[in-house]
C-alpha cells in the first residue's frame, strides 16, 4: 500500500468517526433538553397532586342551625342553616381574636367551607348535636405555604398570608392539624376561580369529547378519500392537483382552521359555541390530511402482487380493495390516525377561536355542552396571577403528556403487533 492510499483510507475512517460523534452529540443534546423540560414540569407540578386541609372542630348545634323539630329528617338538615356553625368552627381556632378580625381566620380556608360542613353532616346525620373534628379545604395561599412554595421572608404587606395567619398555621401544624393528602378533587372538580378548588374534570371531558367527535368525522372521510384516490381514481392532472392540495392542507396553520370553524360552523350553521362538537369538527379538518396521507402510504405499501393475485382470481376492483388491500393497510392507517389525533389533542389555537376558552365550571355530559380542553385549560391557568395556579399548570401539562404518551404507545403497539412483514 502506498502512502497516498494509506492517507485516503485514514481520512475515510476519520470522517466516519466524526460523523458518529456528531450524531451522538445531537442525540445527547436532544435528551438533555427533554430532561430539563421534564424536570421543570415535574418539580413544579408534582405538588398539585397533594391537597392541604385544616382540621378543626365543629359543633352541630341544633339551635344555631335553626332546627326546630326533635327528630329532623334529611330534608330538614338540607334546609338548615350552616353559616353560624361553620363560622364558629373557624373562629374556634383562636378564641382570643377580637370579633372584628374574624375574617383573617375565615380567609385561611376555601370559600366553600360552609358547604363542606353541610356535606359532612348530610353524610353522617347522626352527628347532629355533637362536637366532632372536621377537615376543611385550606385556601390556596395557605396550601402554597404548607407546600413551601410561598416565600415567608418578604415584607408582610406584599404577602397574601399575613403574620397572624402564619402564626395560626404554625400552631396548627405543630398540633398536627394540617392535613396533606392526595388531591382527588383536581381530577373530579371543574375549573374554578379559586386555585384550591380548580380541577381538570371539565377540560378533560371536553378533550375526550372533542377527540371522539374528531375521530368520528375525520376517520371515515379520510379513509374513504384515501381508498378512492389510491385504488380507484384515474391518475391524471386533476387527481395530482387534489394530492398536492391535501399535502398543502396538512401544512396549513391550525389557527386558520379555527377561523374556518368560527366563520362556517358557528356563523353559518349556528352550532353551539364553546362545545366539543364544534371543537371536534374543527380539529377533524386538521386531522383529515394527516390520516389521508397515512392511509394512502399504507395502502401503497401493500405489495402489488396481492392485488394481482386477487384480480387474477376474478375479484372485482371493489372486492380486491375491500377483501385484501384495505385490511392489510389498516394497521398503518390506524397508527396514523392515532398520531393525527394526538396532534389534535395538543391543539389550542383553533379551540380558542371557536370559544372553548370560556370559563366553564360545569362538567360536560355530552359533546354539545360547553367545555374547555386540556391545552386550553393550561393556557387559561397560565394567565392566572394567583400562585396556586402555577403548580396546576404543570400538573395539567403532566396529565396532557400522559394522555399523549398513552396514545402514541397505542399507535406503536398497533403498528408492531399487526404490521405484516413482506418477504
Amino acid at each position: 500500500m502506498n502512502e497516498a492510499k494509506r492517507k485516503l483510507l485514514s481520512k475515510r475512517y476519520r470522517a466516519e468517526a466524526n460523523f458518529k460523534l456528531f450524531g451522538q452529540i445531537a442525540i445527547g443534546l436532544a435528551l438533555l433538553f427533554l430532561a430539563v423540560f421534564m424536570y421543570k414540569i415535574f418539580s413544579k407540578g408534582y405538588t398539585a397532586f397533594q391537597k392541604t386541609w385544616i382540621v378543626t372542630e365543629v359543633h352541630y348545634d341544633k339551635e344555631l342551625m335553626l332546627i326546630e323539630t326533635d327528630n329532623p329528617s334529611l330534608e330538614d338538615l338540607e334546609n338548615a342553616d350552616y353559616y353560624d356553625i361553620a363560622y364558629k368552627a373557624m373562629t374556634r381556632l383562636d378564641p382570643s381574636l377580637p370579633e372584628e378580625d374574624d375574617r383573617q381566620l375565615i380567609q385561611m380556608v376555601a370559600f366553600t367551607y360552609e358547604q363542606e360542613v353541610k356535606n359532612h353532616l348530610l353524610k353522617n346525620p347522626s352527628l347532629l348535636g355533637k362536637i366532632v373534628p372536621i377537615r376543611l379545604t385550606a385556601s390556596d395561599d395557605l396550601d402554597q405555604v404548607h407546600k413551601g412554595n410561598y416565600p415567608r421572608d418578604i415584607p408582610e404587606e406584599d404577602r397574601r398570608v399575613n403574620d397572624y395567619q402564619l402564626k395560626i398555621y404554625d400552631m396548627l401544624n405543630e398540633r398536627g392539624d394540617i392535613l396533606s393528602k392526595f388531591n382527588l378533587s383536581f381530577f373530579t372538580n371543574p375549573d374554578s376561580r379559586e386555585a384550591e378548588l380548580a380541577g381538570i374534570a371539565s377540560s378533560f371531558m371536553g378533550t375526550v369529547f372533542s377527540i371522539l367527535v374528531c375521530l368520528a368525522f375525520s376517520f371515515p372521510i379520510a379513509v374513504l378519500a384515501a381508498i378512492y384516490l389510491e385504488e380507484f381514481a384515474p391518475k391524471n392532472k386533476f387527481t395530482d392537483f387534489i394530492e398536492v392540495n391535501i399535502n398543502n392542507l396538512a401544512a396549513v396553520p391550525s389557527i386558520v382552521f379555527g377561523l374556518l370553524g368560527l366563520g362556517v360552523l358557528l356563523a353559518v350553521f349556528n352550532l353551539p359555541r364553546s362545545t366539543p362538537l364544534v371543537g371536534g369538527i374543527t380539529l377533524s379538518l386538521m386531522t383529515l390530511p394527516t390520516i389521508i396521507i397515512a392511509a394512502r402510504a399504507s395502502l401503497k405499501a401493500v405489495p402489488p402482487s396481492i392485488r394481482e393475485a386477487a384480480l387474477a382470481m376474478g375479484a372485482s376492483n371493489m372486492q380486491t380493495t375491500m377483501h385484501h388491500t384495505v385490511p392489510l393497510s389498516m394497521p398503518g392507517t390506524l397508527s396514523g390516525t392515532i398520531i393525527g389525533l394526538a396532534q389534535a389533542l395538543g391543539e389550542t389555537a383553533p379551540l380558542i377561536l371557536i370559544g372553548m376558552v370560556a370559563f366553564v365550571n360545569t362538567i360536560p355530559g355530552t359533546p354539545v355542552d360547553p367545555a374547555a380542553s386540556l391545552p386550553v385549560q393550561i393556557y387559561i391557568w397560565s394567565e392566572s396571577a394567583e400562585r396556586g395556579f402555577v403548580e396546576k399548570v404543570s400538573a395539567c401539562i403532566m396529565v396532557l403528556l400522559g394522555f399523549l404518551i398513552l396514545m402514541n404507545l397505542a399507535a406503536q403497539i398497533i403498528r408492531h403487533k399487526f404490521e405484516r412483514k413482506w418477504n
Binding site: 405489495p303 402482487s305 393475485a309 384480480l311 387474477a312 375479484a315 377483501h323
Partner: protein
Amino acid sequence: MTKISAKNVNVFYGSKQALFDVSLDIMDKEVTALIGPSGCGKSTFLRCLNRMNDVIDICKVEGSIKMDELELNSRKLDVVRLRENVGMVFQKPNPFPKTIYENVSYGPTIHGMAQSKSELDQIVEMSLKKAALWEEVKDRLDEIGTGLSGGQQQRLCIARAISVSPEVILMDEPCSALDPIATAQIEELIDDLKKEHTIVIVTHSMSQAARVSQKTGFFHLGKLIEFGDTEKIFKNPDNQQTQDYITGRFG
C-alpha cells in the same frame, strides 16, 4: 383443437411498442411454453390472455385474441368472468396473508361456487390434492399461507388458481424463485394438470420448456420468431435466431 387463437396482436406501453404482430394458436389440453430473453414480450403476451394488462393505465392492446368463440380483446368483455375461466400463477409465490383454507376458498366464495360449507371444504380439499399439497397441509389448514416454504407457497397458489376450475391456467415463470426440488414438483404437477386444463407457461429455463411443453414459442424483441412443436423447436428449428438462443449462443 384450438383453445386460444391470437391474431396480429400489438401491445403498446405508452408510445413504446412491446409486441409486434404476434399470431399464434394455443391447443386445448396442452402445455404451451413461451421462451425468450428478458424483455422480449412473452409475459406481456401472457397477460393479454387474462387481461391483466388492464391494471396498467398506459397499456394498449390491439388485434384479436379469441378463446373458443369469445373475443378477449373487447371492451365489452366481462373481465371478472374471463378470469374465472383463466387462472394465473405468478413468478413470485403470492399467497394472500390469510389461512391456507381461506387462500383456496377465496375464488369459489366470491364466484358463489359452493352452496354449503361442506361443499366448500370439498373444493378446497380437491384443489389442494390436485396441487399435490394436501398431504403436507391437511392438519394445518388454518395456518397462515405465507408461513409455508417457497415451493409449498407456489403449489398453494396453483391450488388457489385451480379452485375455480378454470379452462386455462397461465403461469408466469412459476419456478424462477424455487429450488430444483420444488421446481421438479411443480413440473410434475403441470404434467398432471394438462389432463384437465390448457396451460400456457412463460419460462426462462429452456430445459423446463423442453420437459413440460408440447408447443413452444420463441419471442425476441417483441416478435414471435418461431412457434411450433417443442420437439421440432429444440431439435431442428427453422430459424437461425432460435437455434442460437436454445444453444445458448445469445440471450
